[in-house]
Subunit: 470 residues, 2 copies
């Protein structure tokens, strides 16, 4: 690539317009195959990912369609004198959800979804057991939950937390949400307005970045290390910026896999209490440990109502139900409840009752133990396959992901475009970075595909990466 | 009440502080009963509703608790030197959800919930039939839906709409949401920013008012009449304000029960197309007709992608599932999908599959016919009971509500406070008015409670109203 490569939104639009013009002027006719991504990128002297994005948007706008997994064709759409009907009547104020867009690619070797393989879940048991729920609650399908969530479920969860961590939780301090994504979104909408400063770890959970940006937050980052946070840096930022909140993922952190040690947790809470910065603790992978359970959640060290704790159990029990619990100081709870009432007026009662019954069953513990072993094996398979490269990572003690550093000459964005053509996906590090840098990191999930496909996919992926850097 | 009655947020705070001080100074001791709402209102010369709201907030803040349905008692809380821990660490940016707050009162005679009585739904059939869903989809609990919604469900709904209304809908133009409330919230977040003007009917659906206000919309109102909208007024406002959208409920309108005639619908669409104002058609009660089906939805008259159509079937099939379908022009769909991905990343697959199976079952039609008859009867009972008064209403041809005009000397807000003490609730007209006036109107739902309780509750309610106005 001799000439300088330009990038960015300007070029994306150029590519989009270029293709659209050809289609509208019928230079490219209905059902004709578009140039390959590689070819057009070369012709227009842009990144392949830029062409890829333009093609995807044209597909969304129904100007082109996909066939054979890697070919784009001109749509047989209405003729272009009705073109104006396809331009939006209003422009939308919607930011992107980067992670979601990557997930929308249907690929065989899926290293982008930090989800549990459905085949690792006890599906037969779940199906049989769920019928008992309908017998126990004959009107569950005709009844709405309260906005805050089913009382029986909240009582059970309160008891569970008290038993596990020996700190008091009141039933009224729990809110049931339709998954942890919703919990984050409600918190962002309740407590963050444009130009408020929030602290984020770097790297962090991509969807959380998008959610807080969508609220107009100014994000300031704190690096996360294997031994936790640089607390001097945290204190400096809390003094300087007076952030509304600090969003964190201190247990089997997504994407790094780090777990913040106890002492660091306690000092962080003390700082948050001192500088009155709300901590949003997102604990998605708490039970997915390989050798021993992780330290107690940060909220258990809090004595000044400084922490909102989000716990989703559902991912490794029955992810399709979408149930999470939010433990929120009572002074803030009414705001979250109001926001939840506007958002959807309460999580379906059915899902809450089903979850309650699984969660309280004996079978669950057995399942979790088997699941940990299976995931541990998959992690080791991934590490074994990657051992032939010179890539670097810290082996996580739990969770679903490897956070891998690739050599400088590999651009994760270009690697992604090329990988998708080979039916492989992963998450480029930039997407996990609030500062949109981290040009040499990638997140690979080992949890979603089976052992055989994992091995095959990783071999293929390594090939793609190596051909790329030649 | 000789002195002038003050009202508003200032007094609310006074009452709250007054009670809190008494508690903190231990003038009112732990577990001691607070003055009745009526007594304190008289003592402090404020509306009873103001005291009621203050007591409710104290309850939320765990300063007081409720016993015996009508007594408030001082909470045995931590002593007040820890008071600062109960003051919010951050103030929230959350507006109210007025309707939701009324619904939070547990009452026996519930005329405020525009919901179907669970006893009118075929619960046994639903419970038995749902087990087949788990057999048909063994991994439904381990699998996520796509963000846009289950393809099979969207395909079925597309076919249903095409068959019913003879106009084309593409599967890709449908989005599945977790109920119509969520659909509204996603639309408001996608297309409305602070100070945008939106048109609303007057009166309108209370939660929609709260949702759009929460986005900072400037709401301009258009009266809805039995014969539709004043189209000259609509055109004037569209020219003058260039509103982003017009939120409407033209079939068995909530709360008035009016149904906008065909000719008026067509002309409205023409205006919307001309002035490029998006129409948001909320069609919640379409199938709840008493004699004949209503006219086809407004979107069927649209040829320029001007309408977003929200249809929730679930209310009268299995409301606990929370499923709605949104038909959205393709140029706007990607914005809604992105917003949905941020909000909760997709409606649970389980709920969608269960809904699909009910919706496509033969039993459903039988059920709907019986339901219409039952609701028609309840409407007539309500109208018969109210006939002893001099209150006025237009008898609706479908839907769940009566919209009733009471004499000038009855304040619906005060009537509500008094009614709640008698275990009765309803919706004061102000809550349904974007301009927060309509001082003589109330919404009474006949759908939620059984015939006997309906009669008893209405008699009691009429007594309360009559004692009030003496």
């Amino acid at each position: 690539m001799g000439k300088a490569i330009q990038s960015g939104d300007y070029l994306f639009k150029q590519v989009y317009d270029f293709v659209l013009n050809r289609i509208e002027r019928r230079e490219w006719k209905e059902n004709e195959k578009l140039p390959s991504i590689r070819q057009l990128a070369a012709d227009m002297n842009v990144h392949r990912l830029t062409v890829f994005k333009a093609y995807q948007l044209l597909k969304q706008h129904k100007k082109v369609y996909v066939k054979d997994k890697s070919g784009y064709y001109v749509h047989s759409n209405a003729p272009n004198h009705l073109e104006h009907l396809n331009s939006p009547i209003v422009s939308a104020y919607v930011q992107k959800n980067h992670l979601s867009e990557i997930h929308q690619n249907p690929v065989t070797f899926n290293f982008s979804q930090a989800l549990i393989d459905p085949n690792l879940l006890p599906n037969q048991f779940l199906s049989d057991y769920v019928k008992q729920v309908f017998d126990a609650y004959p009107k569950v399908l005709s009844t709405y939950s309260t906005v805050q969530g089913d009382l029986e479920l909240r009582q059970y969860l309160a008891q569970y937390f008290i038993h596990e961590y020996k700190t008091h939780i009141d039933t009224n301090d729990l809110l049931i949400t339709s998954g942890s994504q919703q919990a984050l979104h409600l918190i962002a909408q309740s407590f963050v307005k444009p130009r408020d400063t929030v602290l984020f770890e770097r790297p962090s959970y991509s969807s959380a970045i998008d959610i807080f940006r969508a609220q107009g937050a100014h994000i300031v980052t704190v690096d996360i290390h294997q031994d936790g946070y640089d607390l001097e840096q945290v204190e400096l930022y809390m003094k300087q910026y007076k952030p509304r909140l600090f969003y964190l993922n201190p247990t089997f952190h997504n994407p790094t896999g780090y777990t913040v040690p106890v002492e660091n947790r306690k000092q962080l809470v003390a700082l948050a209490e001192l500088y009155r910065c709300l901590l949003i603790e997102d604990d998605a992978y708490h039970d997915i440990y390989f050798e021993q359970p992780p330290p107690a959640p940060i909220y258990t060290y809090d004595i000044a109502n400084t922490v909102i704790y989000i716990r989703s159990f559902c991912k490794y029990i029955s992810p399709g139900l979408r149930i999470a619990a939010v433990f929120c100081p009572s002074s803030l709870m009414s705001s979250l409840i109001t926001m939840k009432s506007l958002a959807d007026n309460g999580t379906p009662l059915l899902n809450q009752k089903i979850f309650l019954h699984y969660f309280s069953s004996l079978r669950l513990q057995q399942h979790l133990e088997k699941l940990r072993i299976a995931l541990h094996i998959r992690k080791e398979i991934m590490e074994a396959e990657l051992a032939v490269t010179d890539w670097k990572w810290t082996s996580p003690k739990g969770g679903l992901n490897l956070w891998v550093q690739v050599p400088d000459n590999i651009s994760p964005e270009l690697l992604l475009a090329k990988s998708i053509e080979q039916s492989i996906s992963f998450v480029p590090g930039q997407i996990c970075d609030p500062l949109r840098q981290l040009p040499s990191w990638i997140r690979l999930s080992y949890s979603y595909i089976n052992e055989k496909t994992l091995k095959e996919g990783l071999k293929r992926f390594i090939d793609v990466a190596q051909s790329f850097s030649n």
